[in-house]
Symmetry: D2
Amino acid sequence: MSSTFIGRSLRLSIFGQSHSEAIGMTLDGLPAGIPVDRDALQVFLNRRAPGRAKWSTSRREEDKPEFLCGLKDDCTCGAPLTAVIRNTNIRSADYSALKVLPRPGHADYTAEQKYGGYQDYSGGGHFSGRLTAPLCIAGGILLQELDRHGITVDARICSVAGIRDESPFLSPVKDKAFPVSDDEIGERMQQAIEEARTEGDSVGGVVECVIRGLPCGIGDPLFDGLENQIARLIFAVPAVKGIEFGAGFSSAEMRGSENNDPFCVRNGKVETVTNHCGGILGGISNGMPVLFRAAFKPTPSIAKPQQTVNLRTMEEETLCITGRHDPCIVPRAVPVVEAAAAVAVYDLILGEQLWN
Amino acid sequence: MSSTFIGRSLRLSIFGQSHSEAIGMTLDGLPAGIPVDRDALQVFLNRRAPGRAKWSTSRREEDKPEFLCGLKDDCTCGAPLTAVIRNTNIRSADYSALKVLPRPGHADYTAEQKYGGYQDYSGGGHFSGRLTAPLCIAGGILLQELDRHGITVDARICSVAGIRDESPFLSPVKDKAFPVSDDEIGERMQQAIEEARTEGDSVGGVVECVIRGLPCGIGDPLFDGLENQIARLIFAVPAVKGIEFGAGFSSAEMRGSENNDPFCVRNGKVETVTNHCGGILGGISNGMPVLFRAAFKPTPSIAKPQQTVNLRTMEEETLCITGRHDPCIVPRAVPVVEAAAAVAVYDLILGEQLWN
Amino acid sequence: MSSTFIGRSLRLSIFGQSHSEAIGMTLDGLPAGIPVDRDALQVFLNRRAPGRAKWSTSRREEDKPEFLCGLKDDCTCGAPLTAVIRNTNIRSADYSALKVLPRPGHADYTAEQKYGGYQDYSGGGHFSGRLTAPLCIAGGILLQELDRHGITVDARICSVAGIRDESPFLSPVKDKAFPVSDDEIGERMQQAIEEARTEGDSVGGVVECVIRGLPCGIGDPLFDGLENQIARLIFAVPAVKGIEFGAGFSSAEMRGSENNDPFCVRNGKVETVTNHCGGILGGISNGMPVLFRAAFKPTPSIAKPQQTVNLRTMEEETLCITGRHDPCIVPRAVPVVEAAAAVAVYDLILGEQLWN
Amino acid sequence: MSSTFIGRSLRLSIFGQSHSEAIGMTLDGLPAGIPVDRDALQVFLNRRAPGRAKWSTSRREEDKPEFLCGLKDDCTCGAPLTAVIRNTNIRSADYSALKVLPRPGHADYTAEQKYGGYQDYSGGGHFSGRLTAPLCIAGGILLQELDRHGITVDARICSVAGIRDESPFLSPVKDKAFPVSDDEIGERMQQAIEEARTEGDSVGGVVECVIRGLPCGIGDPLFDGLENQIARLIFAVPAVKGIEFGAGFSSAEMRGSENNDPFCVRNGKVETVTNHCGGILGGISNGMPVLFRAAFKPTPSIAKPQQTVNLRTMEEETLCITGRHDPCIVPRAVPVVEAAAAVAVYDLILGEQLWN
């Protein structure tokens, strides 16, 4: 198991299980002197925290980080920064039956095979979506620092249950309870979520993220390009099954003459007329907004009966999952995507030391 | 610039520019005693090599690797394996004008900004699609070794220019000149490529890859999952703008009850009835075929006039690219995707040391 | 700052400052199912803990690890293992004057230059010897696992203040309060320490470590050999200024005919008659005991007045360090060396997956 | 086998066997625009090349690097830099008997065990001292770049066969055929080498290296300190069995009041009166010269009969090594130590991006 992101400059170690004493993260490689605004960080973490709306699990937990080290007077001191969140609202009983009855769409089965019965299956263990909370602590701190340098990272919901918001992503929507650009479409998305919930089912969706203000020259060809790095971090978020940059899969249907972004001069700067490449050419930022979309599958935990296999008897059985689960994790995934993008981008920027 | 893939067990260093003395690769971390069938490798490399068909550049070069070290009696000896391909058919004159006139859709502009005029712009330099040849040497060797252990990696074209082959991917098509399952649809795809070519334009497409025989338990949660690792390698292939696993972006439109793959028992083994997860749960293989699709943008080098900016005068100018270019790189990308997938998967398997 | 050891299989992240809320470590990459004997671990940690003898600082703290995650029923569960130790007995006032008056032999000056005034200078911050406690948690767990496979790691004091114990290192001395083979010489060493202490001074020494039971074949040539790996970890221990393997610096004075270890057959196995190479040939273990020695400089914190520079006024000043300091850290360093060696060796063994 | 140095910014891949087609190296991560003076590099490589003196093997080979890629107009272009040296003067017959008769002090036995008979034993294979040539290509280029920034790396012989040159290391001796400060003592060292040679024996020695001009602040505490990094690279040089920084093992015999280096002000700058710490405090450079010594064992290949074990019959046998071998590799190791130090230091500097 490797839960340590080894970036160009940063090492981010994420630890914890859904029902262990605590979850947390260590961020190593941060320069000294970066301020951490704890209140702003808490506001960011609350966007991910459960229990805020109907589409969210009723497990109510304050994702309140305790900083163990790495800060002095609320600035980074050069030493690794570690923060933990205690797990308090634990109902392990919910999960006891799942040991031999792996839930379809979950990692129960693969974990059982890989860890030979030693894994902590309770609450999803280390595979739980709860592990995105420490990722948000790291990302939340880096988002603050990026913002200080004029780099903003904004995500939004662009589709849920096949209902798409195709309006241009012009301004941030992160302050909205349901972060979508077109609120009417957002209303329909929420209805679809609510319908799924009442039917004991779940829905998925797509989150779009745009990074503005990134200077030209970040990233590299081949293995450490912006796309490689962002993809590597985004696939660390549970339930992500696809990622595309710029026009992405649509590019594959265009002609070169349509898809190529012509260069132009705007305000004395080289820009491109369109941005089908999503701000990335040859793995390197070109100064235009970096844009990507991540596809989230529907929450695998649903109330509807499902077929599984009893691993002890090797008989097929019907499984009914009880417990608290989001009928759609997409709204809570929006800040997580921002956090993952922030880690990806900040790590590459730090490697370039543009701000020295 | 980081052109070294640092895997769990392997280090793959890819080097060379389109018009340097040679291109090549070093594969470090291979166990001793792996046989290399040079003839079979050449057959594999020929699938990628240019000049074989109308959709391919007329630059004719045998991608014939010279092994400098790492082999003894055609078996790996435990030391790093290095192979190079000499660059022989070079027409640098074609590129001299592009120094100040960056080609839309290419890395000319970002490389100029990043490397401050020192980059080797000739022929695309280190950003050239030609650098996929060394990746294919590495992947070709590993594909042989995977095959010896019953693991097969097969890719095919599943769409070109918006024309989709939706037939199930049941059997390999790698021996076909145009590697598609439904040859009639393949015929239409080739027509679309030919039309684009005669119009001085290009088209893109989607390559699908399936890995069969992979045992359950390969990969990890969070940063080193199968999806993270495959994505990281696939985005090293120039022109890739998206990747999805299993049902991918379609998952995002399904309900959980549809998308979840019910577990069942087949021949005494746990399998899943459907495979929307693409053989991966929690970043770990579940024993079903691993399936992903990569979106390739249309070749950016087109004969049609395009708008660019003269970096010296900062005036907008019209650019006409001459020289030899593929109107569609998708057919030649098929073995490249197999190679990238082989590196990704073999590296993780080696880390598990399943075959000790 | 990089406080994450990235091994072949393990990632060990060490975090904390001398006076932060807590110090701790995350060990990622451990197989599932490794038992952790907490009592035995505490016994091991107590060997390093302060306040046990006259040569040790009077800061009294139980190095009692709290396990936050990674264990289930006292076995590793495959997820990262995190343990922390709360900092309780803190006397920050002791250190306030040192901000502008760097202590000779300490990292105060280099940290001030590197972190530009943001470092947590209190108690030595992240540079404190206290950070060897988390290293001992990691090492202590791995020592237990190595022992289960017949591999033992034993260190001893082989010199203090120039007084040498040259008796052969035949049996472990870890149970001794002063871990030396020849107790009479140990008595003299302790007198030398006590003399230094009463004079407000300190002494250094050499720790020797032997790893028995390591099979042949562990390690690699060039950058990841046993010597490189052990050295990399041992130099993470504060105050280490040298390391040598086998005959080490004495080898340099021998002839080849003396220094070469002739191969012989003992009990049907290939061994060597002598062990000047310290069990390592070409970076790889040869099946004989692996043997190395680490030189520790005298504790830089001494009561005697010392010359330093006031970084504010840039005047030379006399500094008198008060506070609690070991007149000799060598006795407490013995388990730390064992811990570092265990991490080094276990990581390479895991990479070979000898025990699968 | 891991022959790739993964530094903070650089990846250095070294490949080749003593008798393979070629040996070479790829240096990835170099900034674009670094000039390479090929003549000066050749002068540097000639210092390591064999066949120049009586103490050197009579294998005569020009270590003439062929640059395959990474340069444009003799400047780095941002892409990986690969250079190879063809192996031309190969006498494999010399080694055929050694397959079953491992040479004492060599890696023959450990390689046989590790690679199960697949290793390329001829000429020492990948374990050969010849692999220091590619290290010198990398180091030679970096030494030029360090020099441009006022950082010099100078090594010298400070002992051979127990004969010590204890004169202070004030000025470079690299232009001398026998690089020692005190030529009279150097004369005695050469006599000792010659005596050993005529007796079919060999001698070892110690190389000292000083790095001047390194600014304060390079390196980090714990695992990526200057000591860890230099040690990791120096132990990649065959025959090194020990390393010490500053006063090193002598520190262990001093008192703190002697060993601590008092801070002082010289020309308005903070310096230290003595330099027992070898320019490193807490893993970080303090602005004083960085100083270390590496112990080289005597060449294991000697003409004198030695006892070994026939691995086929498991009988003890007497081995007589013929072929061409240095009676002392220390003189040729001097530039190798400089090269390794240059890689270590440059990599850390690049990570700090001090020169941006």
